[in-house]
Amino acid sequence: MRFTKDHEWVVLEGDVATVGITSYAAEQLGDVVFVETPEVGKTVAAGEALAVVESVKAASDVYAPLSGEVVEANTALGDKPETVNEAAESDGWFAKLKVANPADYEGLMDRAAYDEFLKTL
């Protein structure tokens, strides 16, 4: 698993990346009441908005950690947005991307680096 400074996580299997938000991000957001997942086929560049997650208080963008094309979206979050709070780094994934440059994955933070980053916040 790799991480971004915007608190997304990504797991790469072959050239398909599963993307979600970290437990830290879910905790900061509070109770998630709505999730907007992307359309399959949408292409996104790294750093672009991929999905939207909303708490009672506010809407926040979820950014694509890697460039690629959406091949699957976790539409189950539509009925059960609370999954993002309950299992942020597993069942609460947002989308799967067929990534353009799998090598970019290694450029993201690993768990130890992300944990260090959290300490600076």
Binding site: D31, F34, V52, E54, V56, K57, A59
Partner: protein, 385 residues
């Protein structure tokens, strides 16, 4: 605004001790939520009782200079100084009564919504209790002082603690501290003592629930707060849930649903224009307001139920069936007590009837919504006979 320049309230340390997440609001560092989070805090308030630090707001006392000693004449005199600023009937307030009213500019735009109360005691006549919003209190107080001139004095009380206790168990909790709270009906208030400290207990609030707002001396605020916290029916509630509660109650938030361009009629607050005052047309912007009352306003604040898609938040456009933009959402979000999304916004009166189907535009997508009557969640105020 930098964190260091934020003002604190007498309860700031108590919030930090309870794990509150603090946020800048109206120049103050305020708790947006505690450990429970917005959703649970909201639902707890509707089912039990929530305590809110609202010390950032603007309580104040107005006192007539050179009282005659005739209580009714003194009330009439102080009311006559305040009435030119607002559209409500201040003269007609009964002793101990509080009224929601609107501070207006010369164009009939709303400068703030506020509470004005008439004290109970003979010797306190010629005085008024006022509570204005946090974000506008400096300009409100300046305008009120200007209106009073030398004939009355405004004494700010916004250095004290102001604690709102709201919810079906609020009366139990507050009565335990202030027994006379049990004798107050909704929109009445009284001076009360606790451990020798002079306090003001008002039965009012902004959640749609029964509840109280208690003004306490600065150094005593934490004691009162902690006594409330010791009641297992009472939990601390942050600004996040305060906002979702007032939204469900259909109550406008100044600076969002109301501003100095919105008239009382447009703001769907015509109930706050007193009959006597309307007849006399003796308040700022009376001509515009009379015209709007007879001919209808250009826009009207309505409630919207979002029928599909994402919550529609402040700034989202409202469109007709043909896609034409007809208005804007002024506040909106997820309503925990309804498990759905609701909003308030302005639309032309022709589109303001409950049942009217409209669209809200969220991130470029047109989502179905419907005009519904407010409050979204029924008020549960306790009015004593």
């Amino acid at each position: 605004m930098s964190e260091t320049s934020l003002k604190t309230t007498p309860l700031t340390q108590a919030h930090l001790a309870r794990g509150a997440r603090m946020t800048p609001f109206a120049g103050y560092s305020m708790p947006v939520q505690y450990a429970d989070g917005v959703l649970k805090e909201h639902l707890w308030t509707r089912e039990h009782a929530g305590a809110f630090d609202v010390s950032h707001m603007g309580p104040a006392f107005i006192t007539l200079a050179g009282k005659s000693g005739d209580p009714d004449a003194d009330h009439k005199a102080v009311a006559a100084l305040v009435e030119p600023l607002v559209c409500g009937d201040i003269r007609g307030l009964k002793r101990g009564q509080l009224r929601y009213t609107l501070l207006l500019n010369d164009e009939g735009g709303i400068l703030d919504d506020l509470m004005i109360g008439r004290p109970t005691e003979d010797e306190a006549q010629g005085g008024l209790y006022v509570v204005v919003n946090a974000g506008t209190k400096e300009s409100d107080f300046a305008r009120i002082e200007q209106g009073l001139g030398a004939r009355a004095k405004l004494t700010r009380a916004d250095d004290r603690g102001l604690i709102a206790v709201q919810g079906p168990k609020a009366a139990d909790a507050v009565t335990r501290l202030f027994p006379q709270a049990a004798t107050l009906g909704f929109m009445t208030f009284a001076h009360a003592e606790l451990d020798g400290h002079a306090c003001v207990v008002a039965r009012c609030g902004y959640t749609g629930e029964d509840g109280f707002e208690v003004l306490v001396p600065r150094g005593f605020a934490e004691v009162v707060w902690n006594r409330l916290m010791a009641d297992e029916q009472v939990r601390p509630i942050g600004l996040g849930a305060r906002d979702s509660l007032r939204l469900e109650a259909g109550l406008p938030l100044y600076g969002h649903d109301l501003d100095d361009t919105v008239s009382p009629v447009e703001g769907n607050l015509s109930f706050a224009i007193s009959k006597r005052r309307r007849k006399a047309a003796d308040f700022p912007g009376a001509a515009r307001i009379e015209r709007e009352l007879t001919e209808g306003p250009a826009r009207l604040r309505v409630g919207l139920k979002v029928l599909e898609g994402a919550p529609a938040r402040e700034g989202a456009e409202i469109a007709g069936d043909d896609g034409q933009v007809v208005g804007k959402v002024t506040s909106g979000g997820y309503a925990p007590s309804l498990s759905g999304s609701i909003a308030m916004g302005f639309v032309p009166p022709l589109l303001s009837e409950p049942g009217t189907r409209l669209k809200v535009i969220v991130r470029g997508k047109a989502q179905a919504c419907e005009v519904v009557a407010m409050p979204f969640v029924p008020h549960r105020y306790v009015r004593l006979a």
